[in-house]
């Protein structure tokens, strides 16, 4: 009978669809074993390309400890960052650090010192704090480094964050250029690159997220450009050693009052003189609360700085002695402050900048090896063109005819251009190229350790991770992660497993710190520790 068959067919389809609808949800397990208990989650921002490694880490933990573990993506970086800042995040979260200046202390103080600005896990240890204070006041670098290594031993016991790996300096260049070196920031030394056929070097970049004013810039796109537009009092050479650039001398007796003498007869790209006022006025402007500059926190150590209201540093912490001399008075002694001076926030600005700071931000006048090619040289979302600065007298002389930063939104597009020789140099590699880039770019690539550290932080306020139980669980988790396998198979060797909390390129680094064995993959010990923690409180 036609109608009944038709009805039957429709009925069957309806039942089938209904089953599909009700049955939708996580796929049921077939092998691998059922896991119980809450899920250990690692939060990350979904727009940062972190999914692959977070999944791998979660799988490693899950398989070793027999618990549920997964990544917990936040759709945007904004959401992720806000949750961390507001402390509403209820799981472990990815973290990391990139050096402001190449010293181990830079990896320690902002992240683990009680109350520090980037101490997102709310870690606090009196022992650690006192060791760092001693390191700060230490007379020699070697003493300081030894103390910092001791401080790391404390960190290995408490594991406020689980170290994962160091990000390598990876980069490649086209067949048209040579003499490509990379500095401690993992960025090419642009001034040294040569191009046989002449013409500007095209470099991979991204649209700067702020006007090109040193104190307003806190991200790498703007930072890379500013680094060659400006010269500071000191700079770091290829080995991370600090050298005087504009400073004739930096003297101090107590590491609290510094006297800076500037080299004479230095000028900006437009001829304006580089004098004490150029520095003091620039820093004053950047620190002023009402200007809302994003890197103002760098001026916090200087006396007179205030977040709440406009407070001139000039006259308090910064004093001009004469045309080429000025003093800096810090709130507390800080032995490595001269290194701070190498950070781009401490760049000088010509007096003409303050007349129209907005225009200056679009077309900055600097004093570095390069200058902007002219007004409009920064084509938003497209590229920025820089040419050599004849007024620059320092060590970092430009050996090419200019740098054009091309802004890409997708790494793969940049890599494709590199392969086609449309792009001369880039200092990152897309995931899609991980397995092929070394052969594609044989002889034109670099892959070596760098000063970028990655980890994930477990807040001190997270359930099951406090106190004694917490220490056991953290160690268990750390030992449940097979870093070797992940860096080799997921990252194809563009990362190196971590051996401490800092980075192997830093002076005084040691891979042999007591307690670093928690970073070794040890599934049996991990399970054992986890079980011990379960006795205290069941997961």
């Amino acid at each position: 009978m036609k109608i009944s068959r038709q009805t039957a067919a429709i009925a069957a389809a309806a039942v089938g669809l209904g089953l599909v609808v009700t049955g939708c949800g996580p796929a049921t397990k077939g092998g691998g074993g059922d896991k119980t208990g809450p899920t250990f989650q690692i939060a990350y921002n979904a727009d940062g390309g972190h999914r692959a490694w977070v999944d791998a880490v979660a799988n490693s933990i899950s398989n070793t400890l027999g618990i549920n573990a997964s990544g917990a993506p936040d759709e945007t970086f904004t959401a992720f960052r806000t949750a961390i800042t507001d402390r509403t995040i209820k799981s472990a979260f990815r973290s990391g650090w990139q050096a402001d200046y190449p010293r181990m202390s830079n990896f320690m103080l902002p992240l683990y010192y009680t109350g520090a600005g980037s101490n997102d896990g709310d870690y606090s240890s009196a022992e650690f704090d006192s060791l760092m204070d001693q390191a700060n006041a230490a007379a020699t670098d070697d003493e300081a480094n030894a103390l910092i290594r001791q401080a790391q031993e404390v960190l290995f016991k408490d594991l406020p964050a689980i170290p994962l790996w160091y990000q390598n300096t990876v980069g490649g260049w086209s067949t048209k250029v040579s003499n490509v070196e990379f500095n401690w920031k993992s960025v090419p030394v642009f001034e040294g690159i040569t191009k046989a056929e002449g013409g500007a070097i095209t470099a991979w970049g991204g649209e700067p997220q702020n006007p090109l004013i040193p104190t307003m810039t806190n991200e790498v796109n703007g930072g890379n450009i500013l680094d060659i537009l400006f010269a500071q009092l000191v700079y770091f050479d290829a080995n991370g050693e600090v050298r005087n650039e504009l400073a004739e001398s930096i003297e101090t007796e107590d590491s609290q009052l510094f006297t800076i003498k500037i080299k004479p007869n230095q000028v900006f790209a437009n001829g304006e003189p580089i004098n004490a006022a150029a520095f003091v006025d620039a820093w004053n402007y950047g620190a002023l609360a009402s200007n809302e500059h994003l890197s103002a926190s760098f001026f916090e150590p200087i006396e007179g700085f205030s977040w709440e209201e406009d407070s001139d540093l000039k006259g308090k912490g910064l004093n001009i002695i004469d045309d080429l001399t000025f003093t800096i008075k810090l709130v507390a002694p800080q032995a490595d402050f001269p290194l701070f001076l190498g950070y781009s926030a401490f760049a000088p600005l010509p007096a003409s900048a303050f007349a129209d700071i907005e225009a200056f931000g679009q077309n900055p006048i600097g004093n570095g090896p390069y200058k902007m090619a002219g007004p409009g040289a920064w084509e938003h979302d497209r590229q920025a063109t820089l040419v050599p600065n004849e007024n620059y007298k320092g060590d970092r002389q430009a050996k090419n005819e200019g740098i054009t930063f091309k802004f890409y939104t997708d790494l793969n597009a940049a890599y494709t251009d590199l392969q086609a020789n449309n792009l001369d140099v880039m200092h990152a590699m897309p995931e899609t190229a991980f397995s092929t880039w070394e052969t594609d770019l044989a002889g034109r690539m670099v892959n070596e350790p760098s000063a970028i550290f990655q980890s994930f932080t477990i807040s001190q306020n997270l359930d099951h991770f406090k106190g004694e139980e917490g220490k056991l669980r953290r160690a268990a988790i750390s030992m449940a992660i097979d870093r070797e396998a992940i860096t080799e198979k997921i990252f194809q060797g563009t990362r190196s497993p971590a051996q401490d909390f800092t980075s192997p390129v830093l002076p005084g680094w040691s891979g042999d710190i007591a307690g670093a064995d928690v970073l070794q993959y040890n599934p049996e010990k991990a399970k054992q520790l986890w079980e011990e923690a379960n006795k205290i409180s069941q997961w």
């Binding site: 036609k2 109608i3 038709q6 089938g16 669809l17 089953l19 599909v20 609808v21 049955g23 939708c24 949800g25 996580p26 796929a27 049921t28 397990k29 077939g30 092998g31 691998g32 921002n45 979904a46 727009d47 999914r51 692959a52 999944d55 791998a56 979660a58 799988n59 490693s60 398989n63 997964s70 990544g71 917990a72 993506p73 759709e75 945007t76 959401a79 995931e431 899609t432 991980f434 397995s435 092929t436 097979d482 396998a485 992940i486 198979k489 997921i490």
Partner: protein, 333 residues
Amino acid sequence: MTRDHSRAADSRGPADKPPSKQPAARQDHFFADPDEVVLGAVDTFDESRPPSSLWSDAWSSLRRQPLFWVATALTLLIIVVALFPGLFSSADPQYCTLTEHLEKPRAGHPFGFDRQGCDVYSRVVYGARASVTVGLLATLFASLIGTVIGATAGYYGGWADSILARLTDIFYAIPVILAAIVVMQVFRSRATVFSVVVVISLFAWVNVARIARGAVMGVKNADFITAATALGVSRFRILLRHVLPNAVAPIIVTATTQLGTFIVLEATLSFLGLGLPSSIVSWGQDISSAQANLRTDPALLFYPAGALALTVLAFIMMGDAVRDALDPKAVRR
């Protein structure tokens, strides 16, 4: 019947003049002598035949098309795989260990392993559920909402058209990504297939609405509609039983094409970081993560993409066959 026929003949003749008084030269119509016409042949009505409707006609023509049966078999297979993945694969799709990273196929694991060390075959089988559900449900909702709104706008015209069409325009304006972020946020801790379905349906109905409106507007001025109105059929019934079946062809085409694009859209959302969470296995996620190894292991892409293509093919064929059967204008070959 003979009576009816001659009455009709009377009414067709020149008005007010009894035919018998007509002179032969003024005859305008030819009327055969009733004895000469085989009336039975003209007006034969086989009462034993069941009443035919659009749907039963469609079914009877569908039954005869091999395309329909192939498509049905394929669709049923896919639905069975989606419902009972355990029957087809014994490996755990969520069990991934880096020791199996990119391993080649071997016994028990016919498609090899992916980047994380998960069994690809198992993931393709288990992924069918999420992906097919996303595709089917999203298409269903989008088509229903879109057809209702579009047909109403096109058929009733006037104020309804203005308001609904402008509503369509407003919804069109919502960027997919924005909607995805907000909806995923609402479903925060319980992100499932349903959240992705909601996201997709939210903006996909617009397309269907536009098409439906255009098609309905094209059909509503046809003669047979006017005839139905003259017969006294209510406006709503006309819409439902006469206009829609004739306007449904482009809607079905759009719907079946959309189904495939929705499953792929899930892949694009995963690519942008906005799709399903890792705890749910789906083809979209596998496709999006496979592109990282596109140059060295393209097979990782082909398996889920192939499964997707097969599903798309099945539904498109099914849609084509159904549409051909439903279309009163199509010639029955």
